[in-house]
Symmetry: C2
C-alpha cells in the first residue's frame, strides 16, 4: 500500500493546475480536453485522475489555489483584514485597489478571469467560490469607503454601496480590458485607475484636481 | 422554382436569431445545440440551414443584426458620425456614452456581450466584427475628448487615448457587472457612471464637484 506524502501531493496538483491554466487561458475551458492537460503536464490520464476527479475540478483549483496563495508572507484574506483595521482608510483603500489590481499585469490572468466569469454563469459551485472572494473584497472596499467618509477623507454624499460596486467594476475593467483589447496594458493603466478613483471619491482635493 | 421574398427572408432570419439569442445568453454558445435552436424557433433543421450555414453564423448574426438595427430612424454609425460633428463635444460625449450604455439595461444583453467577448478570443471573424464596432466607438470617444479638450471643456492634461480607453472600460463595466453581479442594476447605475466621467474628465467643474 502506497502512503501519500502531502507536500508531494500538493506539488503534483500545483503542477497539473499550472499546465492546465495555460490551456484554459488560450483555448477556454470547454475546448480544453483532459488529454491535452495530460500531455501538457506530462502525465497519464490514470495518474491525472488520481489528483482531480475531472476537468472542472482542475479549473476550480486554478482559482482556489491562486486565491489561497501566500504573497509576502500574508494571504489575501489577511491583507484585506489588515486594511479594514487600518488607521488611514483612504490609504488602505488605495492599497486594497493595488492588491486587487496587481494580478491583472500577469500574462495569463486576465484571460483566466474572463473564462471564470463566463463559466461561473453555468457552474454554481464555481460561482459560489468566486462570489465568496468577491464578496469579501467588496465588503472590505465598502467598509473602507464608510470609514473614509466618516474621517472626512471622501465625498460623504456618495452612496457607499454604489461607490464600492464601481470601485470593484473599475478593478474588474482592468482585467476585462486587458483580456479583450490588445493595446490595453494593465500595468501602464494603473495610475489612471487611481486618478479616476481619486477624482470620483475626493472631488476638489489636490490629488483629484491636480 | 421558389422565388425568395427578401423581407420575409429577413424576418425569418430575425426570428431564428431572437430564438437563439435567449439560448446563447442562458446556456452559452458552446452548450447550445442547433437542435435546441430549431426547437426554440419552431423549425426543422433543414429549414434552419436554409437561412444560416451553421450555429456560429447565427451567433454572429446576433451581433451583426443588433449593431445594424435602426433606432429612432438612425443607425448607430449615423449617430456616432453626428456626435463627431457636434458643436458641443462634451454634450456629444455624454450622449455617446448613453447610446453605448443603453443596451446594458435590456435583460439578455449583458450575458450575450460577455459570451461574445469570450467567443471572440477563439473566433477571428467574430473578433473582427466586434473590433470594427468597438474601434469606431472608441475613435468617436477619442475625437470627442480631443475636441472637448480643445474647447476647454475637459482637463487638457489627460492623454486622450488613455482617457478614451477608460471611458470605453467604464461603459463595458456596466455590461460585465450586470452579467456577473445580480445586485448591479445597469439602469440605476448609469447616473453614477456619468458622475465618475464628469469628475474624472472635468475635475473642479460644478458638475464634477457638485
Amino acid at each position: 500500500m502506497r502512503t501519500v506524502d502531502p507536500a508531494r501531493h500538493r506539488a503534483r496538483r500545483r503542477h497539473i493546475v499550472n499546465a492546465a491554466a495555460g490551456l484554459f487561458a488560450t483555448k477556454g475551458f470547454e475546448r480544453t480536453t483532459t488529454a491535452e492537460i495530460c500531455k501538457a503536464a506530462g502525465m497519464s490520464a490514470g495518474n491525472l485522475f488520481h489528483y482531480f476527479p475531472n476537468k472542472r475540478a482542475i479549473f476550480h483549483a486554478v482559482f482556489e489555489d491562486d486565491e489561497g496563495d501566500e504573497r509576502d508572507g500574508a494571504t489575501k484574506a489577511e491583507r484585506l483584514a489588515a486594511a479594514r483595521a487600518a488607521d488611514d482608510p483612504w490609504a488602505a483603500l488605495l492599497d486594497t485597489v493595488d492588491l486587487l489590481a496587481a494580478p491583472a499585469a500577469e500574462p495569463l490572468v486576465p484571460a483566466l478571469v474572463m473564462e471564470a466569469m463566463m463559466q461561473a454563469y453555468r457552474d454554481p459551485e464555481l460561482d459560489a467560490l468566486l462570489s465568496r472572494d468577491n464578496d469579501e473584497e467588496k465588503s472590505t472596499v465598502g467598509t473602507l469607503l464608510r470609514n473614509a467618509a466618516a474621517a472626512g477623507q471622501i465625498d460623504p454624499a456618495l452612496d457607499p454601496d454604489d461607490a464600492a460596486a464601481w470601485v470593484m467594476a473599475l478593478v474588474a475593467a482592468l482585467y476585462t480590458s486587458a483580456a479583450t483589447d490588445p493595446s490595453f496594458d494593465p500595468a501602464r493603466q494603473l495610475p489612471t485607475l487611481r486618478l479616476i478613483l481619486q477624482r470620483f471619491l475626493r472631488p476638489g482635493s489636490p490629488q483629484g484636481a491636480e
